[in-house]
Chain length 225, copies 2
């Protein structure tokens, strides 16, 4: 059911496959979208350029927030002195919480979007966590978002009006790739790789999962052309 | 019951009466504390000097995080073009959510502290919301913190180990003033006033509530000497 024309949504946009698909999903549902892009010292800051490009192509205003949080250096996704995992595909998600986990990241990101939603009288915060293909991150699980929704309904002016939507959370990467193509997401501009290079490394866990997703979806990844 | 010596706590410290009392309360419970002070464009940035001074006197390391969140300009606590409320004392808390409400602020602040706690393997996040004397803010209610604790237990590496403690939430301002004196909080350095002047204005809702608290507690406010 499409949202009413006036309903606003804050969409967390990193510039990756999942969040870009979320943005186009939100548009397809009729939401008036604002994109929120967050720098937190991630080594793959290359993704921010993708976020800008995708927001522009989608015709959605983007706000870029920079966080300087020194304690995030414990994560190999932030601290370039730490080694990124190069896990065998079959083992990804099976070894507990990976070193790329950024402490409390999705709680923090969702809170920033909720703050904006509460200020704008928006009715949805939309983000793209995915539990199925990557179960190692505690902040990508459906039970976390259910509990967070309850907290948001108690601790904001908007209250229960502000919904937290995670449309991809139970999808496989192949399903996400297919949905992205259906929604005409400009996949060629999305950025998923954890490493900070000019092109996707192909070795990090994120590259491997994306590669598997497109392979299973049965079409080539436009970002690799 | 005092916490074990090794347990760490992240304490949100604004430099006001409540958060300063929380810091000394945490120390009295045996926590190894780190203070988190957040700039978010508040017009009373004067309180940050108080936070630094109090952390120093308490012998606690302080991390200062600056947030640039343009949407917070809807709040009169951030936007100096908006008028601060000058509510009759008997009416404070009875008129719905006041214009000084900062959208999603305590959710966001708690999330930042939870992120740090998760990175540091800390077992507590401590903050000083107060429901009794000021019921107008949705993010100062016990039910919000109960729900947020549930979310944190699902969405972090630390999980249920990370407790969110709000020791003042059911206290009156008079009870807080008495507790602060008992804990030897350096009250003369705390800053509560919403206005950005050199001395407390005495008119804003925060000044009025603080004044009422000390009057009821039966001793003079050391910050007014």
């Amino acid at each position: 059911m499409p949202a009413k024309k006036a309903e606003k949504a804050i969409v967390l946009l990193s510039g990756g496959l999942d969040s870009s698909t979320c943005l186009y999903w939100a548009k397809s549902r009729g939401y008036s979208c604002r994109a929120l892009c967050i720098s937190y010292g991630q080594r793959h800051s290359r993704e921010l350029e993708s976020a800008r490009k995708i927001a522009k192509l989608a015709g959605v205003p983007l706000t870029h927030v920079k966080l300087g949080l020194p304690w995030l250096a414990v994560s190999s996704l932030v601290n370039s002195k730490k080694k990124l995992p190069d896990t065998a595909l079959s083992k990804i998600g099976s070894g507990g919480i990976p070193g790329t986990y950024v402490p409390g990241r999705n709680l923090l990101f969702a809170s920033l979007a909720v703050s904006w939603a509460d200020a704008e009288n928006a009715s949805a915060v939309i983000l793209g966590p995915n539990a199925l293909d990557y179960s190692g991150y505690p902040d990508c699980r459906p039970e976390f978002y259910r509990a967070l929704s309850a907290a948001v309904s108690k601790g904001t002016a908007g209250g229960a009006k502000i919904k937290i939507l995670t449309p991809l959370i139970r999808m496989s990467k192949a399903q996400i790739a297919r949905l992205a193509r259906k929604l005409r997401v400009p996949l060629e501009y999305t950025w998923t790789c954890y490493a900070g290079g000019a092109r996707p490394c192909g070795h990090c866990d994120a590259c491997k999962l994306r590669g598997k997703g497109f392979a299973e979806a049965g079409f080539a990844d436009p970002a690799l052309k």
